[in-house]
């Protein structure tokens, strides 16, 4: 369950993990993010929802610089994003990301997927990297599959590997982009359980998802987006059960 104080919910706390300031992004002539401003506190769990094409993925990908944006600022722990080696390095050390379709490396085993970053980037000796990875795989409950290849796993298992892979790099912030939407209904739960656990460890999380159950359970705040704009932000009780805007209500009616 969410452990955050009411203060964290209503306003950004003293040290923001991510600060988004007047973000605008275009694809060609298509304006996909419109003046998005948002502050995410350390240890906060933020759920982003909204209809398809509303710019959720784009937003979250701007946060760790997978996409460039034309206007506005994003800063992570006070460090403003820009296109140079150092920032890139800092960003990728600070943030982990889990994708909708897992994006595991299919030519490496589960274990190798998790140790890759440790051995090549953190320069850990192989044995140590292995221990770290195995601990994480155990935590998500798939240690026994360590020597399989991703193609031999079910979707839920793959997504758990993806989470371990990110966690292995010890990020301070985790970004999730619809981590469960490519999964069979039964597997969704496995992954959500892992995410709930993670939330309870005090990780800062930004999570695009349509799993309202999950949002209600762990989110500190929920953001509802539409057409590249933030329509509503607030604690889940307010946004999900008692929306202020009609658009939010229509959407929630559909997906609940």
């Amino acid at each position: 369950m969410s452990q955050s104080s009411p203060a964290a919910v209503s306003a950004a706390p003293s040290r923001p993990a991510i600060r988004i300031d007047g973000l605008n992004k275009w694809y060609g002539a298509h304006h996909v993010l419109r003046d998005v401003s948002l502050t995410i506190a350390e240890k906060e769990i933020m759920v982003v929802c909204g209809p398809s094409g509303s710019g959720k993925s784009t937003l979250i990908r701007c946060l760790n610089h997978l996409e460039e944006y034309q206007e506005g600022n994003v800063s992570v722990f006070g460090h403003e994003l820009q296109r140079d080696k150092q920032t890139e390095k800092f960003i990728h050390q600070t943030m982990g990301m889990v994708f909708q379709n897992f994006n595991l490396f299919p030519h490496l085993t589960v274990l190798e997927n998790c140790t890759l970053g440790l051995t090549w980037l953190r320069k850990k000796p192989e044995a140590e990297a292995r221990d770290i990875a195995m601990t994480l795989l155990e935590r998500v409950g798939i240690a026994q599959l360590a020597s399989r290849f991703p193609g031999q796993l079910s979707g839920g298992q793959q997504q758990r590997v993806a989470i371990s892979r990110s966690l292995a790099m010890e990020p301070k912030i985790m970004l999730f982009d619809e981590p469960t939407s490519a999964l069979d209904p039964e597997m969704v739960k496995e992954v959500l359980d892992v995410m709930v656990n993670l939330a309870q460890t005090g990780m800062t999380m930004v999570c695009v998802t349509h799993e309202m159950q999950f949002a209600r359970q762990v989110a500190d705040r929920v953001v509802f987006m539409e057409d590249g704009e933030i329509v509503e932000v607030g604690p889940p009780e307010q946004v999900l059960l008692n929306p202020q805007w009609d658009r939010t209500k229509v959407f929630l009616d559909h997906i609940l």
């Binding site: 760790n64 990301m97 994006n103 490396f105 299919p106 890759l116 090549w120 980037l121 320069k123 290849f149």
Partner: protein, 447 residues
């Protein structure tokens, strides 16, 4: 609502085997080959054609063929209708080794055996530095092979660079084999054994240093051993036959991958100069026939290089063939790169891997695997295309075969050598393509 306690427990019924099907072979044939009039006609036609072709070919090549004769005239006297294999057999040595001196031919055999043996440890999954085996084969074996084939007193007649690299190659091979033995015995590898030593000098990347230490020590030892060996030198002009064909083909094949990778990456580069340069090279090389490239290499290259540069035809041809096959490979690899979903780049990027690491660790392994069929097709066509070097006068197997017809005893013997090398090429190429299918299937299991 039922409570859990009231629920019936579901136990899946056991799987069983299907009852044996009542499909006999006869019925199967009928249902597949004679299920309609059109199909029946086709079947009969196919059978007739196959019979005719096989009958003719067998008669010519086997039943009416002459295997022992002193010269062509004798062949014709014995059996005018059949093949005269005696000439091919008489020239067998030339077809295989070209003009390589008789008493030195064991070196060619040894070189080929070493090339294969270098790769054998790959069969052991637990061997240390498994990925280095293939890389070293590409990067180091050529030095060892070149020394074997060229000869010369080691360290005296061979150039300094060549000496050093040959020693390194020999050292590496010894290391691979020692590691293999250790791995089979389930003991720690040489690198691990040298680990404490390396740890004295450096704190980070110790395993790399320990690898280097072991390698250098072994290289020095093998260099010392090799320096006791003096192989009589054999000039490149004397290389020929199947040996030369394989040298050209394998050189082109192994070089085509790195060249192709660089060109493909360059072509996908966002930097316009690099992009256009690579695009130009690829498109130009692909637009012209190999023959013209070969002609250019042997006639124009000497004009464009400094006049005092020693060139031999083989190196000119190798340059041409590498450039040519590299350009084709680049297109294959580009196809593979394009097929890798963007998510893989992004996942690598979010892990923090830089451009080169992403390429080497994530993208290229997948792209190459994905393109195995195409890459193999390219390899096969490189092998086939090496026959063209005969047109510019390298004594590869094709030219040797065509030379039989100029021999005193076998004047005019023309079809049989061609048939022989056709069969040889078919076996090689078909073997390669079947292997690639196999490999593809095996790799698919992992997906």
């Amino acid at each position: 609502m039922n409570t859990d306690a009231q629920l019936k427990r579901f136990v899946p019924s056991p799987a069983r085997k299907p009852k044996s099907s009542d499909m006999t072979i006869l019925r199967w044939i009928r249902s597949r080959c004679f299920n309609s009039i059109g199909n029946s006609i086709l079947t009969v036609l196919v059978l007739g054609l196959a019979f005719y072709v096989i009958d003719y070919a067998l008669n010519w090549a086997v039943f009416d063929a002459v295997w022992h004769a002193a010269n062509r005239r004798e062949c014709m006297d014995i059996s005018p209708e059949g093949a005269c294999w005696a000439g091919v057999i008489d020239w067998f040595n030339g077809l295989m080794y070209g003009r390589y001196p008789h008493e030195e031919q064991w070196r060619v055999n040894l070189g080929v055996i070493l090339a294969v043996a270098w790769l054998l440890p790959l069969s052991c999954r637990s061997i240390a530095h498994r990925s280095l085996v293939l890389i070293s084969w590409v990067g180091l074996y050529p030095f060892l092979g070149a020394w074997l084939f060229l000869g010369g007193a080691f360290g005296v007649e061979t150039g300094l660079l060549h000496t050093v690299f040959t020693s390194l190659a020999a050292g590496f091979m010894v290391m691979i084999y020692l590691n293999w033995v250790l791995a089979l015995l389930n003991r720690p590898s040489l690198t691990d054994l040298a680990y404490p030593l390396a740890a004295r000098f450096t704190a980070r990347q110790t395993h790399i240093y320990s690898l280097l230490i072991v390698w250098l020590v072994l290289a020095v030892i093998s260099g010392a051993v090799l320096s006791q060996v003096a192989l009589p030198p054999v000039a490149i002009e004397r290389w020929g036959g199947l040996f030369l064909t394989l040298i050209i083909a394998s050189f082109a094949i192994t070089m085509s991958i790195p060249i192709g990778v660089l060109l493909a990456l360059g072509r996908r580069s966002k930097l316009p100069v690099i992009h256009w340069l690579c695009l130009l090279i690829i498109e130009l090389a692909r637009a012209v026939p190999l023959i013209t490239v070969l002609f250019m290499a042997v006639t124009l290259l000497p004009i464009f290089l400094p006049s005092d540069m020693e060139l031999n035809k083989l190196s000119q041809v190798l340059c041409a063939v590498c450039l040519f096959s590299g350009a084709y490979m680049a297109e294959n690899i580009r196809g593979g790169l394009q097929a890798i979903p963007r998510g893989q780049y992004e996942a690598a990027q979010t892990l923090g891997l830089g451009y080169w690491m992403t390429m080497l660790l994530i993208i290229l392994p997948q792209a190459l695997r994905l393109m195995i069929p195409n890459i193999m097709t390219s390899f096969i066509s490189i092998l086939k295309d090496t026959t063209l070097v005969s047109i510019i006068g390298l004594f590869d197997i094709m030219l040797m075969a065509r030379n039989i017809a100029n021999d005193k005893d076998w004047v005019g013997l023309h079809t049989e050598p061609l048939a022989m090398i056709s069969i040889l090429f078919f076996v090689l190429c078909y073997g390669m393509s079947q292997y690639s299918i196999n490999l593809e299937k095996r790799l698919k299991v992992n997906r």
